[in-house]
């Protein structure tokens, strides 16, 4: 029998996970419901560990892949807490951000380990009901582009034995764009708005599309209204909330012409919008949905025709690395050789370059802005390496990012095999790309 090939989109939030899979028959992503809670596709981020199975774990019995005896997640965990003797573990996501450990029955677990376990169990509960399935690609979309969270989620690929090509981590923005750009094109004749009203408050994203220009650009502007528009501020006073939201909407909709509006997040579940709904709907299509990120991630997992609407654009968001970073080969023509290529989200921007230094200890770092085409150079000298014959000093150059603007070039003495062994010296040169744009504009 042939394998069922699964394309999955997983939206990891602080309180809930949402999972969707690509339905080959309908040609659309569909949200996953667990059998214990068929009325919702929100999978609570909780684990339950049953005391009954503690003994089998202690005896060191081998377990197969995905098999965590005694552990369950989501709605099942919620049900088990009342039916079985055990321990409920929550706030796992928050503890990952704090790099904390969690004690479970006297055993210490790193929060990141339990996060991976949680996600595996969420996926397993779904795939268990399918015959002979194999994950072709999994895309995880996250609200917090925190490096600790990203590192933790990357472990999921290892546990699920997915290759680099089979696994991606993207931001909510990225998957939101995938969702929006796979809706009918007339919805994007002009700019598009996205309101995300979550537990932390309201975020607004305006998506502007620049056509007939090279490169064509999707520019996303973000406005943070969390300080002024959040649940606790209004309590049960929905009328006040509606008025406040209407004020915000009027101001934002007057900035430019908006073709369509997408509303997502728990804040839009209840039916409190009256005035603001009327304002939004004036000359626009408005859509409300809680699963745009998971479905957008699923579109990304499938790729192909779902990638096509976005392919011709340079996507400019607060997470995008807007520069190519590399070196000059110092060959008279100043040939540029990239270490990393910009255009991706910062946590997915990686690259490595190995070079030989030939009678020089200087490197000319080059930062090339993709949008303005302006270049900034920075010459550095590498000191402290032993004197070696020409072309036998081999160094590796890598770039790591702290966010879309800031990062560091890591320079390592690789050595020249047995002939000239490495000194294991590592150098670090920090950079700020925003400075590059300003300097180039002066």
């Amino acid at each position: 029998m042939g394998e069922n090939q699964l394309y999955l989109g997983l939206d990891l939030g602080p309180e809930y996970t949402q999972l969707s899979y690509y339905n080959m028959d309908t040609g659309e992503p569909e949200s996953v419901y667990h059998s214990e809670a068929k009325d919702t596709y929100l999978l609570p981020n909780i684990l339950f560990y049953s005391h009954t199975h503690r003994k089998s774990e202690e005896s060191g019995e081998k377990t197969s892949l995905f098999d965590y005896p005694g552990w369950c997640s989501g709605a099942k965990a919620s049900a088990c807490r009342f039916e079985e003797d055990g321990i409920l573990i929550d706030r796992i996501y928050q503890k990952v951000l704090m790099n904390e450990s969690i004690d479970v029955e006297g055993r210490q677990y790193k929060a990141k380990e339990l996060l991976v376990r949680l996600l595996v169990l969420h996926i397993r509960q779904f795939t268990r009901e399918l015959e002979n399935c194999v994950i072709k690609k999994l895309v995880v979309t996250i609200a917090d582009t925190d490096i600790l969270l990203i590192k933790a989620v990357r472990e999921l690929a290892t546990v699920l034995r997915l290759s680099q090509e089979q696994f991606d981590i993207v931001s909510h923005l990225d998957s939101g764009l995938y969702y929006i750009f796979n809706q009918p094109e007339p919805l994007r004749n002009n700019s598009v708005s996205l309101f995300d009203f979550g537990n932390e408050g309201l975020d607004y994203y305006r998506i502007d599309i620049t056509r007939n220009k090279t490169p064509e650009v999707i520019n996303v502007t973000h406005k943070d209204y969390r300080d002024v528009f959040y649940f606790a501020k209004f309590g049960k006073n929905k009328e006040e909330m509606d008025e406040a939201f209407d004020e915000i909407v009027k101001k934002l909709m007057s900035e430019t012409y908006i073709s369509s509006v997408f509303l997502t997040g728990m804040g839009f579940v209840e039916n409190w919008m009256k005035q603001s709904a009327a304002t939004l709907c004036q000359g626009r299509r408005v859509f409300v949905g809680q699963n745009i990120y998971t479905k957008g991630a699923c579109y990304r997992a499938v790729g192909g025709v779902y990638k096509a609407p976005l392919e011709r654009y340079f996507i400019d968001t607060e997470y995008t690395v807007k520069s190519h970073i590399g070196i000059s080969l110092l060959d008279g023509r100043d040939t540029f050789c990239p270490i990393v290529t910009g255009g991706e989200e910062w946590f997915n921007t990686k690259g490595r370059l190995n070079i030989f230094l030939n009678e020089t200890n200087r490197l000319k770092l080059v930062y090339k802005n993709i949008l303005t085409d302006k270049t900034r150079n920075e010459t550095i000298e590498i000191h402290g390496l032993p004197l070696r014959p020409p072309k036998t000093t081999k160094i590796s150059l890598e770039v790591e990012f702290m966010d879309a603007e800031k990062g560091a070039v890591i320079i390592r003495d690789v050595g020249f095999g047995e002939l000239f062994p490495t000194t294991n010296k590592i150098y670090r040169k920090e950079f700020e790309l925003a400075g590059a744009v300003e300097e180039a504009q002066r």
């Binding site: 110092l330 070079i355 030989f356 009678e359 020089t360 200087r362 072309k391 020249f416 047995e418």
Partner: protein, 278 residues
């Protein structure tokens, strides 16, 4: 000249080892470097089938592997195979490869003693002191049997002395350095003689010898400074640190640790010595 060369080749998991020197290379660039700088040490056995397999399987350069294979099938000279390898990538420029070919031509025009000296110097560079010393002895025997006591012979004695000193045969090294100086009249040989003397006799004897040889004023101080720098270099060596730790532990009554560490140090020195013979 390009100051930066981009490395495009793969690093092998398993190295290619040259038979004469037991030096291993892990990449195309290292292979090129070794060939370029050690042509006289490379034998026909190095440019053989196993090189073809290594280039293909380990560094994944099938096109180069095929080219080398064709040359081996045609029983081409080792030099031709080396040039094929050097010209394939961009590690060496065409100018540099041209210089290499000229050096190969010069080598063909050298007399056997000159070629032998080059080989021995190559072994000396890689600290194969015994192999180097044996070749130097052959050259010395040949030259002296013909009464050819010239500058060339002096340089042979000098390098032989370096090999002897490398193996801590200091008395023999001293004798060879002074013999070298008598033949080549090169101050470097005399200075090396004094360096070896300085670590093997007391200060009074050293100063007496300096005076006897008519060395300039201040020579003793310069020599001491040179030795001081060398001692600094020795202190950076890991084997020195191991010995220091062993002695420290012995002074604190830990004889078991001392024995263990010294066994390790002696084992390392023995292995290095034995590797010269292989």
């Amino acid at each position: 000249m390009n100051n930066i060369i981009v490395c495009k080749s793969k690093t092998a998991d398993n190295p290619y080892t040259f038979l004469n020197t037991r030096i291993s290379v892990y990449s195309y660039e290292e292979l090129c470097y070794y060939i370029f700088n050690n042509m006289v040490l490379i034998s026909e056995d190095d440019m053989a089938e196993r090189l073809v397999t290594w280039i293909s399987d380990e560094i994944e350069m099938p096109e180069l592997s095929d080219r080398v294979d064709v040359l081996i099938e045609k029983k081409a000279f080792a030099q031709d195979i080396m040039v094929e390898i050097l010209t394939y990538g961009n590690y060496y420029s065409s100018e540099e490869v041209k210089n290499f070919m000229e050096e190969c031509q010069k080598l063909r025009n050298m007399n056997p003693q000159e070629i032998s000296k080059k080989k021995a110097d190559g072994y000396l560079k890689y600290k194969h002191y015994i192999k180097a010393g044996a070749i130097y002895d052959d050259i010395i025997a040949y030259k002296e049997s013909r009464g050819e006591n010239d500058e060339f012979l002096g340089n042979i004695y000098h390098n032989k002395a370096v090999a002897l000193a490398g193996n801590l045969q200091l008395k023999e090294a001293k004798d060879c350095f002074i013999r070298a100086f008598s033949l080549n009249n090169n101050n470097e040989s005399l200075i090396e003689y004094f360096c070896v003397l300085a670590v093997s006799v007391d200060t009074a004897t050293l100063q007496k010898e300096i005076k006897k040889r008519g060395m300039p004023a201040g020579f003793f101080d310069d020599l001491m400074m040179e030795l001081g720098d060398s001692k600094e270099d020795v202190r950076e060596m890991s084997i020195y640190n191991k010995v220091q730790k062993a002695v420290f532990n012995r002074m604190n009554g830990n004889l078991e640790d001392y024995d263990r560490r010294m066994d390790g140090v002696l084992g390392q020195l023995k292995d290095e010595f034995r590797s010269q013979i292989v």
